[in-house]
Amino acid sequence: MIRHRDKTRDLAPIEPACNTLGTARLPSMSMRKGKAFTLIELLVAVVILSLMITMVSMILSQSQKVVNVAQARIRSNGAAANIAEMIRQDLRSVSKNGILCITDTSQADRSPRMLFTTAGVAHSVTGTTRGTGAFIAYGQVANQADAGNPANRILWRPGWVLTASPDAGTQPWMDIWQLDFSTLQGYTRQQVNKDVINNSAFTGAVGNLRVPPNTMTEINRLWQVATTGCSRLSIMWTDGNTAGGLRWYGRDINGNLNPKDSGWTGRNSTNLDDPANLSTPEYDGSQSGTDGVYRVLWTHHNQSAWPKAIKVRFALRDPAMPAEFQDVDYEVIATLGQ
């Protein structure tokens, strides 16, 4: 209840609070007159309280922002840690009896790519077939559910079981490659290009990737997805040259062709299918247009020249992150199985 101050009453109360003997007035009267705040008192209190609430809410708001960023970073770091572990495990299993190929094309949604063979028992995800090796690929492809958004591209990680005799009962095979190491070892570079790198199993699967999925087929294809929201990807390699620091070759995360690329010794860029040149890795940097910018191929012919380590750098974008914390870069450096 608000009591309006009455100046006249303050200066000269009409009714004295007490009589001259000092005895109290009737309780009911004193309660009624002295219980409430004045308007000024309430206003001051409300203003002070408002200031305090504003300060507290500002602190809480800032804290919430920090917590949100931290949570998004935890999600992002967790995804990156899983991807890092997957890359390391895959590269540890690399078999030099097969191939390692790193390509970079001018097609933004199909670049760069790395594919390699791994040794060891491999199981089909979509069927019951087992093989003694696998084709593994990494690349950045468009998410067909959001195809126009470069920030929502997919870090693509398909794996195909290598076997010459797949289980007939599991067709259609989605992750089986009818090939074995002995056949692969007889391939020329042109055959590798035609039958592996440009095979529709690689090029065609990309067009069907959609996250979130709409159909059962798309759900089945989710085993190819390492993560969505991969806004940038770079795959580089090193031959172990430590002059002036560890040398990395290939296109970097900003899309620039590493200047050191031209200094790569031991590469072979002429007469790529000449058997005399098989002992050196095949490097084709002359490609242009839709076909690509460069293509590097290592085979069992030049095992000693395979890269010592691969550097995969990728940026993850979490839509829940504030703009200033988008596109967090991660880097995974993994040695190849020797």
């Binding site: 109360p13 000092g22 002295g34 008192e41 935890i74 890092a84 390391r88 990395w248 880097e331 450096i333």
Partner: protein, 231 residues
């Protein structure tokens, strides 16, 4: 007499509501209470930040191991007790070959069996306060009880005791983490399990000197690996 004042009962009767002073006092107490509650938030945020950094620290350590395998010559890890392994600043930063990153790693190494190409590497990932600073492993000679969870150093070595710093036994590669510091004594998360002898601490330096007033170590994660070296 128009108004009678001074009688206690009378005064009480006139002041049944709160005065401005009382309200201000109450608000002050409320403010102090809120301030105490708010003091909890930075600690929670720090914990959150640590958990974020730990995941990244693991990635950096594993990258560090890969880099060491590729470019650290076996001959440079000659001792049987841990010693810093020389790597250029750019090689130790994350992302690799970068000179403008605050994160990175450092390596201590010792040989286990040269014939079998076995080496022990202790890789510590870190986050510096400034790009221009460096992080180093600094050691002291110190023997402690294998089960002791407290470590006391000389007055001149107090700067080594920083929260979160690993304390690494150079003879075995065992390490414990500093949980609390009280002047010259640090509380460890567990005993080193060995008698010590030479202990390494991870500190940040500026211009070659320890960062003055640093209470928290730049160390993020520690990885102890038994590995072969390719060079």
């Amino acid at each position: 007499m128009a108004r009678t004042i001074g009688h206690p009962v009378c005064r009480r009767a006139r002041r049944e509501g709160f005065s401005l002073t009382e309200v201000l006092l109450a608000l002050s107490i409320l403010g102090i209470g809120l301030a105490m509650v708010m003091a909890v938030f930075p600690a929670a945020i720090e914990e959150s930040r640590n958990s974020v950094e730990n995941v990244l620290g693991t990635i950096i350590c594993e990258n560090g191991l890969s880099i060491c395998k590729v470019r650290v010559p076996r001959a440079s890890v000659a001792g049987t007790t841990l010693a810093p392994v020389a790597l250029s600043s750019s090689a130790r930063t994350y992302p690799a070959d970068s000179n403008d990153a605050t994160r990175g790693f450092l390596v201590l190494g010792r040989r286990l069996n040269v014939v079998r190409n076995e080496y022990q590497l202790v890789i510590v990932s870190y986050a510096k306060r400034q790009v221009s600073n460096d992080v180093k492993a600094e050691f002291i000679g110190k023997s402690i009880d294998p089960n002791a969870t407290q470590l006391t150093v000389n007055a001149g070595q107090k700067y080594l005791l920083q929260l979160g710093s690993p304390v690494i036994d150079a003879a075995t590669g065992n390490y414990a983490t500093i949980l609390a510091v009280n002047d010259q004594t640090a509380v460890l998360d567990h005993g080193l399990g060995s008698a010590g002898g030479t202990l390494y601490f991870i500190i940040e330096t500026s211009g070659g000197s320890p960062l003055s007033g640093a209470k928290v170590s730049p160390a993020m994660t520690v990885m102890v690996a038994r590995t072969g070296l390719n060079q």
